[in-house]
Each structure stands twice: as C-alpha cells, then as structure tokens.
C-alpha cells in the first residue's frame, strides 16, 4: 500500500509559478474574475507564499509553495458532518464533492488554509470549456475543493502499472502530480513515501527537512527542505 507524499526543496524553488497554472490546467480549476478575486475568492489549490525579511538594502524575499499537506491527523477531516472529507488508505486527504454540503467547517479547521470554496457556479466562457480535463469532475456552487495530489493521475498510473509492470507496482518517477511535472527547478518531488528508495522518501529524510506548522502535530505528508545559505567553495 503506497503512501503518497511530496518534498518541496525551498533551495530550488524559484517562484516561477509554473506549478500554479499547471494545477489549474490539470484540475479544471476555474478563474473567478477580478471582482471575486478582490473579495479573496480565488480558487488556487496551490499558492506560492512570499515573505519579506529585513529592510532595504538588506532585504530578502522567501518563497514557499503551499498546497494541501495531506496531513495524517488532518484537522479538516473529523469536523465534516457528512464524511465529505476523509483520509484514504494511501494517505490522501480526500474530498468527496458529492457529499459536500458546504458547511465550510473544514476550511476553518485547516491551519494551512489550502481549501477553496465554490462561492458561485464556475464558468468557462465557450470554447474555454473544451480544455476541461475529462478525468476530473467539475465542482458546483457550494462545494469545497482542494489539492488531490492529482488522484486521477494516481489511478491512471495504477492501472498502467498493473498492465505493464510484472510486479504491478508504480515505478518511482513514472507518476507525477501536475505541479511536480512542470516544476522547472525540480523543487517539487512527488512520490510514494512507503518506498524507501523513492526520491521523495530520500528527500523527506533530509537534514534540511521540516514540516509546515509542524508544532500543530497535524502530521503533514509534505516535507519542506529549508533554504541553505552559501558556504565558500565546497567546504562544509
């Protein structure tokens, strides 16, 4: 049984935001337009947080991609009265759109605020709708949605592995979330944490690794590898 997870190398991430649009394209995420965006109702499943440090001229800027952390002890799951939000055997923090009645409790409980809500029915002005990914359902008004670790790709990969690999297991790297696939600096690495040889397992064990808001004990499946500072030519 796999356990899906991700490693985010903040030392690689350049804030290019390819992941953000890749996520939109893969998961049929609507755009809400300026008025709604101004109200704070954009639908990004994945955002790159930026924080300033210091003042000019000694000023620094830090980027941090934040997506659903697929916590093992997810605060968002138990508060849902209809089981719309629950934890799969493979460690995915799943959202069942059909069961969601829109209490928005999960969004409050999520300390990472990575859940986005359909305040209106999504619109794709024709023929933009032709781009919609048939593997991903389109969500209606009143439904909470969030990063799924591209569960549709996971399922495709499973079928593919059953058909083509003698051991029926997914080869590390053969399966990538849309964001990881597009990530130009290879900062996002997606894979199976159960597989000790997978790159994501290797990176998650890194000394630079830490969890976002780890002190809350939510047990995220996403590990952040902290930015390093420069050391003169190779000496460590």
């Amino acid at each position: 049984m796999a356990k899906w997870g991700m490693a985010v190398d903040l030392d690689r991430c350049t804030g290019c935001e390819a992941c953000v649009t890749a996520c939109h394209a893969e998961n049929n995420i609507p755009t809400v337009g300026p008025e709604e965006a101004d109200k704070g109702r954009t639908m990004h499943w994945l955002r790159i947080e930026r924080y300033w440090e210091g003042d000019f001229p000694d000023v620094q800027l830090k980027f941090r991609p934040v997506l659903c952390q697929h916590c093992d002890n997810a605060p968002c799951e138990p508060v849902c009265p209809t089981y719309a939000s629950y934890h799969t055997d493979e460690g995915l923090n799943a959202q069942v759109y059909n069961r969601c009645i829109g209490t928005r409790y999960c969004a409050n409980a999520c300390s990472y605020n990575v859940r986005v809500f359909n305040f209106f029915n999504p619109e794709w002005e024709k023929p933009l709708d032709l781009q919609l990914n048939p593997d991903v359902s389109v969500r209606e008004v009143g439904v909470m949605e969030k990063c799924t670790f591209c569960v549709q790709r996971i399922n495709d990969a499973k079928i593919d592995a059953k058909a083509n690999n003698e051991d029926g297991l997914i080869v590390d790297g053969a399966l990538q979330s849309a964001c990881a696939q597009s990530c130009t600096a290879k900062a996002l690495v997606f894979g199976d944490l159960e597989d000790p040889d997978s790159e994501v397992s290797r990176l998650s064990g890194s000394a630079r690794g830490s969890k976002l808001l780890g002190e809350l004990g939510t047990g995220p499946a996403v590990t952040y590898l902290q930015k390093e500072s420069w050391y003169e030519s190779g000496d460590r």
Partner: protein
C-alpha cells in the same frame, strides 16, 4: 468595436450565431461523422512548440476525444474530434527537458480563447472604430491579391511593407522570400524589449550575434546584472533547470548566486546576495570587479582577449575603477566590491550575466561589453565553459532582423508630403502589436492611420489589429505545423518541428499558407517554389544531416519533435576582423531633470504577460504575481520609506508623470526597491485586447521617453525619470497576500 459587437461579428461565421438560429444542439441533436477517431477516454500525446517566447520549448500535448459545436451547411450539431487538454514539457527536448514555464502552461488558452477571431473580417466603419464584418476567405485573399497586384503593375512594390515579431521559424524565411520576390523592402521586426544591444555586444566581444547559453548547473558562482534569468529572459526554463541543480544538484557543493539590480525581481529574490546598484552603472561595477581581480594577480588583462581590449584602460588593469570609485559611482560599498571580486575569481566556473534594464540605458552597450570582458577575464566563455553560444543549424539559420526599425517606418510615413500618395500602400502585420508596445513618442498609431491598407494576421483584436482594414486570422500554434530554431538553451545545433496537434476550431488559415496563395496569384518573376508551408519546412529541414537511423532530418524532427546536430559542435566563429575601438565609461543619461522628476522609472517584463502579449489569458490574469501577489491589475512599486514620505499607503491611486506622458495606477508598498526608483510591470493597460485585458490597469510604456542606447540606437527604456503624486480615486489593486512578513506584528 466593443466586445459585444465583436462577438456578434465573429458569431455570424462561427458556430454560436447559427446555433442560436437553429436552437441549441440539445434540442435538435445532430452528430456529424467524427473528424478524428481517438481511443475513447484515453489520452494521446502529440508534439508541439511553445510559441509564447523565443526560447522555443518543446511541448507534449495531451489530446483527448471531445465534442465541439459545429455548423455544417447551416445545420448545427456536434462532432467528435481530438482536443488538446494539457500542455507538458517535451521530456527529451534539449531546451526544456520535460519542463514548462507558467506561460507555457497557460498557452493552451490561446487556442480556446472565447474572443479569438473566428474567420476573416473586413473593416466596415471608420478605421479604428472597430467595426468589422465577416467575409469569405476567397473574398479576403482576392482583395489582398488585387491590391498587391495593382501595386506591382504600378511599379509601387516599395509600397508593400510588413511588420512582424522576431521569428525563429521558417515563417521568417518565407516572409523574407515573399517580400524580396515581390520587390518590397524586408520586414520590420518589432520587439521593443528585445536583446539587440546584447547581441551586438556579443558580436563585438565574441563574434557571435546571439544570446548566450549558460551552463548554470555546473557553475559555482552566478553573478547577474539585472538579468531575469529565472523569470522571463532568454531561455527561462533551461536556466531554471540549471539553477536548481546548481543549488542542490551536487552533493556538498552549492553555487552562490548574486543579483545586482535596484528593484528585487523574482530572480533577485532567489539570490544569496542582493546588491542594489544605481541604474545604469552596472558596467562600472563589473569593471570594478575586473580591476580587483586583475589587481589580485590571479588573472592578467590579456586573459580577456578581444573582449577586454574593447574596454578603454583594460590593458593597464583599469586603474580608474578602484573599489572606492565604484562605491561613489554605483553606490555599492567598496567592501562588497572586493568581496564579490574575490568570490567571483575563486569560485570557478563563475558566470556573469547581464540583460534587461542595464542594457536599456544610454550606455547599455558599454555595460554589456564590460560584463563580457569580466566573463572573458575569468575564462568563462566558450563551449562547456559556463557562457557558450548554441550553434545554429547551417541552412536553417533564422532571418536576422531587418535594418529598419518601427520608428523609422513611422517617420517615413509621417514625413511624407501631404497630398502625395502614402509611401506605404499595403502593410502586413504579423503577430505583433506596435500600437500598444511602442512609446507614444514614436507616434506609431498616427503613422498607421496614414497607411493605405492594413492587413493583420492576428488571432485577436488588439490595439493594432483594431486599425486593420482586413483581418486574416492565423491558426493557433496547436492547430498548425510549427517549427523553431532555438537561439540558446542547448549545447548543440538543433531545430524543432511538429505537425498540428488538433484540427482548427474556427475558420482560420495558416499565415504562411495565405502568403503562398497570394504569391501564386501574383505570379512573381521567380515564383515561390513551395505548394504549402509544409513543403517549405520539409525542403529546408532536409538540407540538415539526418541523425542515426533516419534517412531524413524532417522525419526525425517530426518523430521526436526536434532534430539535434550529431556532428561534434562546430568551433566558435572568429571575432570580426574589424579593428577594435575601445569604449570608455560614460555616465547614463536620463530623460527629465533629477529635481523635477525625482524617481528612476523601471518598467519590467511581467512574469505573467511578458511585454503584454499574454494579457488576454485568464489564467495569467488571475495568477498572483509571485513577488507582489497582485492579480488582474497593474501597480507602481514604491519603497516603504518613500511611500511614508509621500503619504501614500498601499492601494492608493497614484499618478506617474514623465516629460512624455502620465499614467495612473495603484501604489504597492515594496520593501525590495531603492528609495529613488519606481518600478512597474508591463502587460496591462490594453485599450482593446479581449474581454479579459481590455481597459485593465495602465501601460508603463506610455510614459517612456524616446531615449536611445548611444551606440545601437535601441530604445533605452530604463532611462526615463518620473515623478509621482497621490490622487483621488479607486486604486483597484487586487492582491492575494494578507501580510508582507511572516513575523508580521499588528498594532499594539
């Protein structure tokens, strides 16, 4: 022509109106025989090339079966066909190695854009009124042919002109051939934020008129002077890939990255050290480093070769550029200068990069040459040595840009004596928008109004297309055969090509095929020898040496999406024999006096929209700019202290005034910008560019002064001084982030 009218107009040809006429397909459901049979529910992968920037990344298109509304013989219905669903990087492609940037990811919306022109249009109202009516392709092409035919008979071949964006595909070659054989002057390429200064500098220093390719992955020190290498400049994806490996790709070794710029860009945000230098003094700083390195004795002036010889005083070790002098000129502390010099010389291979604003000053050429010399000094130039040049495939070299600039063309039109026949009878506009992109001082709009007949190949009604008399909408890149010769991003000569990924959605035609058809009807003395654009590309590609296992480069290119030269890369061409003229540093000149206009004005290429050509894509409009988190708007970046002094808070509407124009935009408090600099992203401020971009934000180009780079005459777009004032009104700034800092403390 406002959106509603536009939709109306295009609708008549396109499906929607006919659908309205025949009721919606649900009511009377007619399913035509499939255009394309695909395995139901399964994805097919096809190849293409991202057209949005000159990098030319290979694209893998995920195509799946889908239904589209169509009208066949006046009957509305649906038909199954293959539809592009998602764009990914082409894994094996030498430039982007399976990765794709944010703009490339959004490129798919170009094809499905609701405001795409769905068929040929003919102007009905006043020019610029935006009133068009649909016409058939035969009429449209007939109209163009007859006008050109008339020109040819009256011997007025000179009256045909063409403006195009820089093309690195064979379309450029076709355009050249077409104009040449018609007898018209070569096309004017318009690319206001292009890199001509750097290309010229590279030609001077290294004999290659080309943008460099950087081996960032294996470098240990990366020193960038204002170059947005991780954002938009040159070949961003390949540079990002290299950057990632430079950081964490080599166990125990992590390269250092230093960025020199007065306003922290997305690239600068990733730097280990960020050094704000006064605008236009970057070259001086580079030479300061060079002097320190030479003074340290680790390197001799001669090591820089020709590149060094181009700098006055180089051979004597640049005594003028002492660290103290550098501090007074650039504002960079002498300590920092020495530290940078030491690290740059000690951590080889070290790369110095310069691009963007530093080259857009009156002394841009000097800045470029200085950095070239610095690279040469530490021996970073040459194949496999940090700074290289991607060999161009022989026989497939892209057409070099014409001598004439858009401004010269404009002047020619404007200066023609009144009453006389306009010097430009027919103007072809291909995929470029000078009315939006050229500073008002160049008076491009006025000039175009003096043109006899304007034909646009654009897919969207933009400011320039709006002035057209005839619009012959091109296919989107997914709908047509595409080819590209990357200028940089790889070690070997290469050329990409791909067949169309899907059938055209609308009644559009490939610009190249239209030109060929027109040419046929004109019967040139030496006719164009290609039936279709595909013939042309094939014949051109087949001049290349076929790789292993293929008997033609054309087949190979289509098979893999690209062709790479297998032969050992040809040596760099020798520098021009022309005698060397050493340049001396001259302080940058700015338009507007410092006391009247307090601030340097720094427009920058937007992460989302580049120069504005992508402002029509909703995904990019709603993409929070990673540094400012702003969406759907434009803004003016102000240092917090300056803002406090001016009594400006975030979101206030401010007026940016130069000697040449004034624009209004909301203020955005930006800790990473020098107190005497105001920065503003390009891209917004379109008057007329689809429902998503029209009337949104302000266009910084409108305040730019027509300053020149002294040697090349390129526009010095960073040499304008402005003033700023808070004014009444809604700023309309939309940002995603709630706080600037992670340890944000609220008022106590």
């Amino acid at each position: 022509m406002d959106r509603r009218q536009f939709v109306k107009a295009s609708a008549v040809t396109g499906a929607s109106a006919s659908l309205a006429a025949c009721g919606n397909p649900e009511d009377q459901f007619i399913r035509f025989i499939s255009d394309e049979i695909l395995p139901a529910g399964l994805a097919v992968s096809r190849r293409s090339i991202c057209p949005l920037c000159p990098a030319g990344c290979g694209v893998e298109v995920r195509v799946m079966e889908g239904d589209i509304d169509v009208v066949r013989d006046g009957v509305a219905g649906v038909v199954k066909t293959g539809l592009a669903k998602k764009l990914e990087g082409l894994p094996a492609h030498p430039v982007n190695q399976g990765k794709l940037c944010v703009r490339g990811q959004a490129a798919i919306q170009v094809t499905y854009h609701p405001d795409r022109i769905r068929g040929p249009l003919q102007r009905t109202g006043e020019r610029g009124s935006g009133q068009f009516e649909p016409v058939s392709w035969d009429e449209a092409i007939g109209e163009l042919s007859s006008r050109l035919g008339a020109l040819a008979e009256s011997g007025g071949q000179n009256g045909l002109r063409m403006i195009t964006r820089p093309l690195r595909s064979q379309r450029g070659f076709l355009i050249r051939e077409f104009l040449e054989r018609f007898g018209a002057p070569p096309a004017v390429t318009f690319d206001i934020f292009g890199d001509e200064v750097l290309r010229d500098a590279n030609f001077q220093s290294f004999g290659v008129r080309q943008l460099p390719t950087f081996d960032i992955a294996s470098s240990r020190y990366l020193l960038s002077f204002g170059a947005d290498i991780l954002g938009t400049w040159n070949s961003p994806v390949s540079q990002n890939i290299g950057y990632g490996d430079m950081r964490q790709g080599r166990p125990g070794l992590r390269g250092k990255f230093v960025q020199v710029e007065p306003r922290m860009s997305q690239t600068g945000a990733n730097a280990d050290q960020w050094v704000p230098a006064r605008p236009g003094t970057e070259g001086f700083l580079a030479l300061g480093l060079a002097r320190a390195i030479m003074a340290a004795g680790t390197r001799a002036p001669a090591d820089a070769g020709r590149a060094g010889a181009l700098i006055e005083g180089w051979s004597d070790g640049l005594d003028a550029y002492t660290a103290e002098e550098v501090e007074t000129v650039t504002g960079v502390p002498s300590r920092t200068v020495e530290q940078l010099a030491r690290e740059f010389a000690e951590n080889l291979p070290a790369i110095a990069v310069i691009a963007g604003a530093p080259l857009a000053h009156t002394n841009g050429m000097f800045n470029a040459l200085a950095v070239n010399a610095l690279n040469a000094l530490v021996g970073s130039v040459g194949a496999g040595r940090g700074v290289g040049f991607t060999p161009q495939p022989e026989g497939l070299e892209p057409v070099q840009r014409g001598e004439r600039t858009i401004e010269q063309l404009a002047n020619e039109i404007l200066e023609s004596p009144a009453g006389a026949a306009p010097p430009v009878q027919v103007l072809l506009v291909n995929d470029t928008n000078p009315v939006f992109g050229a500073p008002p001082a160049m008076r491009v709009a006025d000039a175009l109004s003096g043109v006899g007949y304007i034909v646009s190949f654009g897919s969207f009604l933009d400011e320039t297309g709006n002035l057209a008399d005839l619009i012959l909408p091109d296919h989107s890149f997914l709908e047509s055969l595409v080819d590209h010769v990357p200028e940089s991003g790889g070690g070997r000569a290469m050329a990409s090509a791909a067949q169309r990924a899907m059938r055209p959605l609308h009644d559009t035609r490939d610009m190249a095929d239209v030109l060929l058809e027109v040419a046929r009807s004109l019967d040139f003395d030496e006719p164009l020898e290609w039936e279709t654009y595909e013939d042309l590309v094939q014949t051109r590609f087949d001049t290349l040496s076929p790789p292993e296992g293929f008997d033609s480069a054309w087949i190979a290119a289509q098979f893999g999406g690209f062709w790479v030269d297998q032969s050992p890369s040809s040596p760099q061409p020798d520098p021009p024999a022309a005698d060397i003229v050493p340049r001396a540093y001259s302080a940058p000149q700015f338009d507007g006096s410092a006391d009247e206009f307090r601030f340097h004005f720094l427009p920058y290429v937007s992460q989302s929209f580049l120069d504005g050509s992508l402002a029509h894509l909703p995904w990019l409009q709603e993409l929070p700019d990673v540094v400012t988190t702003a969406m759907w708007s434009s803004w003016v970046e102000i240092n917090p202290r300056t803002a406090e002094e001016l009594g400006v808070v975030e979101g206030d509407l401010v007026e940016v005034r130069s000697a040449h124009g004034v624009i209004q935009a909301p203020a955005l408090i930006f800790p990473g910008i020098a107190p005497d600099v105001l920065a503003m992203p390009l891209g917004q401020g379109h008057r007329n560019f689809t429902r998503y971009a029209s009337g949104r934000g302000a266009n910084p180009i409108e305040v730019l002064a027509p300053m020149r780079e002294s040697e090349t005459g390129e526009l010095a777009w960073a040499a304008t001084r402005v003033n700023i004032a808070r004014i009444e009104g809604e700023g309309g700034l939309i940002t995603l982030a709630g706080a600037l800092r992670e340890d944000e403390e609220l008022s106590r």
